[in-house]
């Protein structure tokens, strides 16, 4: 115990000395002052999105341009009809989520399962096309997002697809998610176990 305390004191002393050193470079005594300020320029290429459309980049697209992008850059992996291949199936599956049959799989797609359209823009922008991620312009991503949503019968018409319009899309499964209720409370099982 004695040695532990002594060691602890030494460590604290070191820490204090270390902190003293940094006081010289940091105006704020609770900070170390390491790292550099990040400028708007540094951050301009990062993309993330919140469901209310904040953080999405400027730009706009159309469903018809989106079809071109899709046919050229997505169909090879997600299928001509968005039915899926190497990449996930993107449409269909409405009405399959309520199910307690171990033999029948629910069909989870952008159409049936995704709660937010902003997520679709965000994901395509960061990770697709799979072999050349980050290669699409923002306008192309808005367009192809619009095209997938139109094939999913969620969007139609010629309205431009923008950050604002995506935040207003009513996704079919918008209210399909509930918070985590765990931990569950299990008692040691007292039934008669058997092979299943």
């Amino acid at each position: 115990m004695f040695t532990t305390t002594k060691l602890f004191l030494q460590v604290t002393a070191c820490g204090a000395l270390f902190a003293l050193n940094t006081y010289a470079v940091s105006a704020d005594p609770t900070r170390y002052g390491f790292g550099e300020p990040a400028s708007a320029n540094d951050l301009q290429d990062f993309v993330s999105s919140l469901p209310d459309g904040r953080d999405l980049p400027a730009g706009s697209g159309t469903i018809s341009k989106g079809k071109q992008v899709y046919d050229e850059k997505c169909a090879s992996c997600h299928g001509q009809k968005l039915e899926g291949d190497i990449g996930d199936r993107l449409i269909g599956g409405r009405g399959t989520l309520v199910n307690n049959d171990p033999k029948k799989a629910p069909v989870k797609t952008v159409e049936s399962y995704w709660p937010y359209a902003t997520t679709l823009f965000d994901y395509i922008k960061r990770a697709m096309p799979f072999y050349t991620p980050g290669s699409l312009t923002n306008d192309e991503v808005y367009s192809v997002t619009g095209y997938i949503l139109s094939e999913a019968k969620i969007l139609n018409g010629d309205e431009p697809i923008t950050a604002k319009s995506l935040s207003k899309v009513a996704m079919p499964n918008r209210n399909g998610f509930i918070p985590d209720h765990r931990p569950d409370h299990f008692k040691p099982a007292d039934k008669h176990p058997r092979l299943r």
Binding site: E36, G84, I86, D180, P183
Partner: protein, 488 residues
């Protein structure tokens, strides 16, 4: 993470079939390898009776603690007959090629009669023995760029997973990143957005913790019927390492968190630009940015040069190749926390942000596809872990859960870390069902599969996919063959 694509039955069956195939290919090789626990002529040997001591039918629990039993049973899997050794050498190296992570050297008849390899011949970085062949095996997804590989738990001793055997999950391949140019940007609802080089990151006071990471998809093939045969297949998406890095609280203090900030987006610098939202309370409590793993730099496939560690949270939140942290008042609802990593219940509702990994345990030896060579003493051993704290106890049943006896726990018993348990057992040659059940320090009791399905239902062949933490059953038949069964 589309661990399995639950989109269609046909597709699922195809993918599960490919995993079964991958396991079968591995087993075919392993059965011929005398060093493998699955070697088919070299069963797990029961301990030879000690002179003057009864061999069979004696409950070792009733016997005074016999050190030799424990030592002997430890060696069981590694040891083999002389003939077995010879096979091992040829099996491991039919063409003078060493297994991954090893260098092939010719084996003298008698190593006392000839000098060994000169020091330094390895270039200064050691390799494992050429006789050790265990490897991670990969799930046969359509592209190896988004896939996962599993830890061979059945070969593990102690609690640390060798870095080279730590399970992997990537969504766009393993990124190669030069630490000299790598930067981490921290911005959003902060007073001073900042960028940190790796040198900056390493200047901050550091911490080390031994923690497990488990993919919440671990065991997803096992919901509706026993599917994979080995413990590597049923449980291999969990591993334990010592991680070293900087507390996120230190970094966040450095940029100054604005009031109202509730969530962090953590982003990876790989080609999937992986993102997850983490609650700020969790970030301030115990998350850290790790650059060290088991005493050296973190491995590339584990996120070199920097990985988020979120103790006790599902593996996907432990973002690898971290390049950016953005603070916000709301979760970002990324693809991984909506499309994937949500637990779809029979009601059609899906549980979201089910982040903590519940307590779980599994017997790693004997386990599926091993063979006991005859009645006698065996040490049952395995691992237990909980995302909520320490493991408090592990009970083992050899009769399918009718009766339970406490297993011995190997210290140190650390919070959010794997704990090894051991249980001495004399097999009487009759059919047995081996199970382990753990309790963590919060009092949470590991459920049977039946209890878990009562709560979660079975929405399709792979249920709600994630967070399967049920008791595992291994059946030992009268021939000593061990197989994966559902027994509850």
């Amino acid at each position: 993470m589309s661990i399995l694509d639950p989109n269609s039955d046909a597709k699922n069956q195809l993918k599960i079939a490919s995993l079964v195939e991958a396991e079968e290919a591995f087993l075919a090789k392993a059965r011929k390898n005398a060093n493998s626990a699955y070697f088919s002529q070299n069963h797990i040997e029961p301990e030879k009776p000690v002179k003057g001591e009864p061999a069979k039918g004696v409950d070792p629990l009733q016997r005074p603690h016999n050190r030799r039993h424990f030592l002997a049973s430890f060696a069981v899997l590694a040891s083999s007959s002389v003939a077995g050794r010879a096979i091992a050498q040829t099996a491991a190296s039919p063409d003078g090629k060493a297994p991954p992570g090893a260098v092939w050297r010719s084996v003298p008849e008698d190593a006392t009669k000839i000098p060994g390899t000169a020091i330094g011949e390895d270039g200064g970085y050691g390799t494992r023995s050429q006789f050790e062949t265990e490897v991670r095996w990969r799930f046969g997804t359509k592209t190896p760029l988004s896939s996962w590989s599993m830890t061979p738990l059945e070969h593990g001793v102690g609690i640390i997973t060798p870095s080279g055997l730590h399970f992997e999950r990537d969504h766009g391949g393993i990124a190669t990143i030069d630490p000299a140019t790598h930067k981490v940007f921290v911005h959003g609802m902060v007073k001073q957005p900042k960028k940190f080089s790796m040198l900056d990151v390493k200047r901050f006071p550091s911490i080390s913790r031994i923690l497990f990471i488990e993919c919440s998809g671990n065991g997803l093939t096992e919901w509706s019927k026993p599917t994979l045969k080995t413990v590597q297949g049923t449980h291999g998406l969990v591993s334990t390492s010592e991680w070293t890095g900087v507390p996120l609280s230190t970094i966040l203090n450095e940029v100054g968190v604005k009031s109202g900030a509730k969530w962090l987006l953590v982003e990876g610098g790989d080609s999937s630009v992986m993102t997850r939202s983490i609650p700020i309370d969790k970030a301030m409590k115990d998350c850290f940015l790790a650059y060290g793993q088991n005493g050296e730099a973190i491995r590339p496939e584990q996120g070199y040069p920097l990985r988020l560690i979120a103790p006790g949270y599902e593996g996907n939140t432990h973002i690898k190749w971290v390049r950016r942290i953005e603070l916000s008042d709301k979760p970002f609802m990324t693809r991984e926390e909506t499309s994937k990593y949500t637990d779809l219940l029979p009601s059609g509702k899906a549980v979201q942000f089910s982040l903590v990994m519940d307590a779980k345990s599994v017997i790693t030896r004997p386990s599926g596809e091993m063979t006991l060579s005859g009645p006698g003493f065996y040490e049952i051993t395995g691992l237990a872990w909980s995302g909520r704290g320490r493991i408090k106890r592990v009970d083992v049943s050899t009769d399918g859960g009718r009766t339970w006896k406490p297993a011995g726990l190997q210290g140190p018993i650390l919070p959010i870390c794997q704990t090894r348990f051991r249980f001495p057992w004399v097999w009487d040659g009759k059919e047995a069902i081996l199970q382990s059940r753990c309790v963590d320090e919060t009092g949470y009791v590991q459920p049977t599969l039946g209890q878990l399905i009562e709560v979660r239902g079975l929405n399709g062949p792979i249920g709600s996919i994630y967070h399967l933490n049920a008791i595992q059953s291994w059946k030992v038949d009268t021939e000593g063959r061990v197989s994966n069964v559902h027994y509850y």
